[in-house]
């Protein structure tokens, strides 16, 4: 059956709505939000590929970066996606690997809005691309 970036993001949002979240919950929110965004970017710029190779994260973000440097419609959004995804990658690294450091609710909230911003921008790029094809 499979799933979609939006469904993965919905999981992050659902988790964030629960009460008495533990630090591990907060870290999981960041992780889910990041992967939702990563898959969204992948679908936007590469197509539906499996995210399971080493350096695939960089490959996906790099595709967005190259698109942003082109003259295609949606390049401003692509540039913003690139910057935000590199930042998001660091946030997710902190959430998943730097487990001895403190992690706050605000960190999870920031990840959620960052994920929303990236997915929204992906939507805009896809809209501009399909509009371009119709025209």
């Amino acid at each position: 059956m499979g799933t979609t970036p939006n469904e993965i993001f919905a999981t992050a949002k659902r988790l964030s709505s629960f009460e008495n979240l533990t630090e591990a919950d907060l870290r999981a929110i960041v992780s889910r939000a990041y992967y939702a965004a990563l898959h969204g970017v992948s679908e936007c710029f590469i197509g539906k590929i499996q995210v399971n190779q080493t350096n695939t994260h960089e490959l996906i973000i790099d595709k967005a970066d190259r698109y942003g440097r082109s003259i295609n419609p949606g390049r401003t959004e692509a540039k913003r996606i690139t910057r935000n995804m590199y930042l998001f990658k660091k946030m997710r690294k902190a959430a998943d690997y730097e487990i001895r450091d403190d992690f706050e609710k605000a960190d999870a909230n920031n990840a959620l809005v960052l994920g929303e911003s990236v997915l929204e921008d992906c939507g805009i790029v896809q809209q501009k691309l399909s509009h371009n094809q119709v025209v």
């Binding site: 970066d65 401003t76 540039k79 690139t82 930042l87 605000a106 929303e116």
Partner: protein, 250 residues
């Protein structure tokens, strides 16, 4: 030693310094009352009175009044205190480059005052002036073996820039763009922190500007800064290495 009473202007200046963290919670009425008090104090202690007016102008984001009042204070007494207070007021409107310059002048007026030299390093790092921060750090290390986070961060940032071959000017310009974006919105960050990742496979410098608002509101301003970074940095910069983030704290 016989203690001398503080003038009203000195008292006011101390009060404003203590209030620095809560400046966003001061009402226009409170500010107006303090301005009146400061103006009256000019007759008795113009030096501290002008510095208090400069500090109040900083809180109101009035750069013209900030500069004119502090320059009046400096004309009266060209001292470490005058330049230091000018620097602090400039940092209050996010003009960190000029704040660093003024704090350096203050440090030169009192070379034995290591706290002022440390503050100059702090302001230079926030302004993105890493070369300047490193030179100040070398000066500091001839006078003290103790180092703190800013000294350490300046060295680590310089290390990442060297390792990745990125010009210091990109970091400087990136910081300027984010600070300018916040200044346009008249938002003073609660915290500016720098996280340096020295992983040889994935080196990076992440400057985090934490502002007192929701994550949603912070993201809007962050995205604005993001577009500017993409458009104004030469060739879009190096987003994989130099990252700038504006985040909310609630």
């Amino acid at each position: 030693m016989i203690p001398t009473a503080k003038t009203k202007a000195q008292d006011l200046l101390s009060k404003l310094t203590a209030l620095a963290g809560g400046r966003s919670r001061m009402s226009e009425l409170q500010l107006a009352a303090l301005r009146r008090e400061a103006k009256e104090s000019l007759k008795v202690d113009a030096f501290h009175g002008y510095m208090a007016l400069g500090a109040l102008a900083s809180i109101s984001w009035d750069e013209v009044a900030l500069n004119s009042n502090h320059l009046c204070a400096i004309n009266l007494s060209d001292t470490e205190l005058a330049h230091r207070n000018y620097a602090v007021s400039l940092s209050g409107v996010l003009l960190y480059e000029k704040a660093a310059e003024e704090m350096i002048v203050a440090a030169e007026k009192e070379p034995e005052n290591l706290a002022t030299l440390r503050k100059a390093i702090n302001f230079a790092v926030i302004a993105g002036m890493i070369g300047v921060a490193m030179n100040l750090y070398k000066k500091l290390s001839t006078r003290s073996t103790a180092s703190d986070e800013d000294d350490f961060n300046a060295r680590r940032i310089a290390g990442i820039l060297r390792q990745t071959g990125i010009n210091e000017s990109e970091f400087h310009q990136g910081q300027s763009i984010v600070l300018d974006t916040l200044r346009r919105h008249r938002i003073l960050p609660e915290v500016i922190s720098t996280q340096v990742d020295e992983d040889p496979a994935d080196p990076s410098v992440w400057v985090r500007f934490e502002i007192n608002t929701s994550s949603q509101n912070a993201q809007v301003i962050h995205d604005e800064a993001c577009v500017r970074l993409c458009e104004e940095l030469p060739d879009g910069g190096h987003p994989a290495v130099l990252m700038f983030g504006i985040v909310g704290n609630c």
